[in-house]
Symmetry: C2
Subunit: 330 residues, 2 copies
Amino acid sequence: MEIQKPYLLFLADAHDRLAAKVATGIRYWHPEYCVGQLRMAGCQVDCELPDLDIDAAAAKGAKTLVVGVANRGGVISESWVALLQQALERGMDLAAGLHNRLSDVPVLKETARRLGRSLFDVRHTSAVLPVGSGRKRSGKRLLPVGTDCSCGKMYTALAIEKALLARGQKATFRATGQTGILVSGAGISIDAVVADFIAGAVEVLAPDNEPDHWDVIEGQGSLFHPSFAGVTTGLIHGAQPDALVLCHEPTRTTMRGVDYPLPDLADCMALNLKIAQLTNPLARFVGISINSAHLSEPKALEYMADLERQFGLPVADPFRQGVDRIIDNL
Amino acid sequence: MEIQKPYLLFLADAHDRLAAKVATGIRYWHPEYCVGQLRMAGCQVDCELPDLDIDAAAAKGAKTLVVGVANRGGVISESWVALLQQALERGMDLAAGLHNRLSDVPVLKETARRLGRSLFDVRHTSAVLPVGSGRKRSGKRLLPVGTDCSCGKMYTALAIEKALLARGQKATFRATGQTGILVSGAGISIDAVVADFIAGAVEVLAPDNEPDHWDVIEGQGSLFHPSFAGVTTGLIHGAQPDALVLCHEPTRTTMRGVDYPLPDLADCMALNLKIAQLTNPLARFVGISINSAHLSEPKALEYMADLERQFGLPVADPFRQGVDRIIDNL
């Protein structure tokens, strides 16, 4: 799916930045995609974009209204529907990554059908996907892998894409989850595909490319997470990564949502490498990305220096230091 | 899903035993489930069951007509529909494991709805599944794992269930694919669930049980198959196997459907053990099951004796020798 830009970011009545993380992610990574924000009464988030109503956004050329918030339960609130319908009538498509679908709201489905607009429910794919072939593709690929879920893999991938592009290199972020899809405007939510097609979906997502082009593929889950390691395995096999980056949040004591310890970093790297080398025997780790938000600056720097000595790889927190030292190692 | 027994096996116009492998599998493993077979003109397969038409099968108490054949493309032939409809009208449910669904044939869907019958499209699940929890469950579990797809994992699991039951032990075969579901009458086709729920589906399929009960779970794919390893990983994590059996077909030179070599057996066992020990640290291999159909008896015995010396584990071809020596090692 390819979502038309530019976007009007719909912040609804979001009470905090976490509730608006899709909108803040798009604003942070791709301000050039955004013509403005639409806030309802009570909204307490500001993406520092012009406040536009539907008419003003349409006049400024907005092609898609993106639902940039997730409320409790991930549902489409009834109080939003009139505004969403108005956006369709003013010529915009709609995009959302919520659990329930835009296309399950009858008035939105009917209005979109009547006017020929698209509803992008990016958590769900209707694409017919192939089974993975394992055939080696041209071009280069980088994949962040994690000790856990939600430890910085998307942030790392977006930072690496941005840094490569800033150096004039060819690079494309390939989104594999709903937030990444809305941030970048394209992708496949691979945890929502049928199990037989995980690797095949990633093969489609990151196809043959120029020899010096880097696909920077969004990572998902962890090989050590008992709920989601199947998704991670298929993702690694489909990605055929030349370069792996280990992502880790060093203050976490158990894995997200389950009572399992975090893996040892060396053990985690060894298993990821073993799995990756099935479809790309040249796969190797090029760096370690640390989410050190919960450490003080001195503690974070000391921790990363220790890891760097231990593994002989560049170690960086993309938010504190950028990823230049990691991509120097590509 | 739980399919009502006994069955009428529908062989349609199958030209050879491979086309009728679902029917021959049910007949071989569970003759007590079968009241008879229904063959159309031109059918060249005989399951050595009474030939019954729909009326006669209904009179003998058949509860479900099972489509026991797969034609090219896995479709429901138009020439079958009148017979399938008649079975519904005589009180039977329908079950099939084809790509396209019984419920997508309007007249079957409408007839079933009108009469309150069930249509079991066992390749597809409508169950609402949880994400895997990784919580250790009570009871014992055995899982065959393979060097490749289609190398004897279902046969091995069914043979082990049968041998355990013959010894008076508590055991249940848990089907994870369409043939296994139709052979045993229950299960979840895990390659058809949404990727996020692979491990969770297996947790539901093989729930808490008595301490001395063995769930014998049907294996799927291979950790070394670039198309399907994600499914295999989630299956292993959800199964939490206490006992693993390696399944191997020694004459194969590339993996099914892809140009990849078969893995080294020691390497394959090491990776399966590594993955299994995430959710069950006590997982271990208890034997090796060889599909030696393409070797002469002397060559097969020599090959298996070599493996037994190399790995120090019981090695057997379940078809030639049974699985007693493997289950002696549980």
